[in-house]
Amino acid sequence: MAKYKLNELERGCRATRTQLSLYVDSTLSAREVWAIEKHLRACKSCSDYRRELQATVDLLHTTPRLDTSDDFMARLHSRIDAIEPALVRPPQWRVALQDQWMTLWYSRPVRSLSAVGLSLLVLALVPTLVRRQPVLPSLQREDRAVREARRALTQPLSQNVVSSTEDPFGDPSATNLEAQVVLNDSSTSKTSKEN
């Protein structure tokens, strides 16, 4: 029984220690943290191990930093100039203008004003755009077809009117009408003579 318990504890220690690095970084899930802390409360050896690992990580975090030498930038510039002497660079005035513009753009009042101005512009343009609905090409085609059909219908009528005004006697219906009038007139004069 004691042997079984020792093995179980050993297994628990192994599982805990492999996760202690992640535990120190606080990247484990709540359940995993709970399991590790439960084991740490029961196992002094693992608890000491965790403390030592934490001290190692803390030491790494406070390690002194080394900076470059003072002439680092100058040396870098001269090396870049030597590598690419014919590099196309924007003129100084353009760089200065870009700096000015970015400075202005990144300042809060200008950005707020620009946002307000843009909103007003959108509000002014939306009704205009909504009213002016674009004509679809299919509708344009249909409109053209209707116009041509109407022209085809009205053209013979106008041609007929023109021909009848130019030569009213050329119209057969007019000739018939004239013949009818002549016939009526002749019958009326015959009747008056008999009376």
Binding site: T56, L66, L76, R89, T103
Partner: protein
């Protein structure tokens, strides 16, 4: 006119300007990252002068290929990737030389290098202990294999995330976590006598 260096432009803005051959923007990038890259390279190659040369080489390579940089990765990750590749080349060339070198911060203090030692509370005993521990830590880092040292430096000293380190080193996320674990365990074993004094 407000000086360019005083304005915190986003990295993306600086990259866009540097891609348009704007040297001022590239300078800003260098000023922003040179310390981090140099510190990392110094702990990798263990020589202040070689670290500075490699830092210069990192930024020259960045300058020459900034036009091909795409914003899929962060600028930080990209620069550390260039630096790590340079480190690999360097250690291949100087394999025997590195093995005989030892890292000592005090040896390099006369070279005009600036150091920022944390925890400068006026407690001579504590300061001495911290200095001693710092020295031991440097020695312990030197004893780590390069692949473990890269990960522990990037995570615990330079503050990159697991995901960023995976991109820098070009390994899966699980490998990064595993290497970090092994690196810390080895460091703990080396530093155990000093840690027990401190704890």
């Amino acid at each position: 006119m407000v000086a360019l260096s005083k304005i915190m432009y986003a990295d993306n803005t600086l990259i866009q300007r540097a891609q348009a051959n704007d040297r001022a923007a590239f300078n800003e990038i260098v000023l922003r990252y040179k310390s981090k890259i140099h510190n990392y390279l110094f702990r990798m190659v263990r020589s202040a002068s070689d670290a500075e040369d490699l830092t210069q080489e990192t930024f020259i390579r960045a300058y020459l290929s900034i036009h091909t940089f795409q914003s899929r990765a962060s600028l930080n990750t990209w620069l550390f990737r260039i630096a790590t590749n340079l480190c690999i080349d360097y250690s291949r060339k100087n394999k025997n030389h590195i093995a005989t070198q030892s890292l000592s911060i005090e040896d390099d203090e006369d070279n005009g290098s600036q150091r920022d030692i944390p925890d400068l509370a006026f407690d001579p005993q504590r300061l001495l202990l911290n200095r001693e521990l710092g020295k031991r830590l440097d020695e312990a880092l030197c004893q780590l294999p390069e692949r473990l040292r890269t990960v522990v430096l990037l995570y615990d000293i330079e503050g990159l995330s697991y995901e960023e380190i995976a991109l820098v080193v070009g390994t899966p996320l699980g490998t990064v976590k595993s290497r970090l674990f092994h690196a810390r365990v080895q460091l703990r074993e080396i530093l155990l006598p000093y840690l027990q004094e401190k704890l």
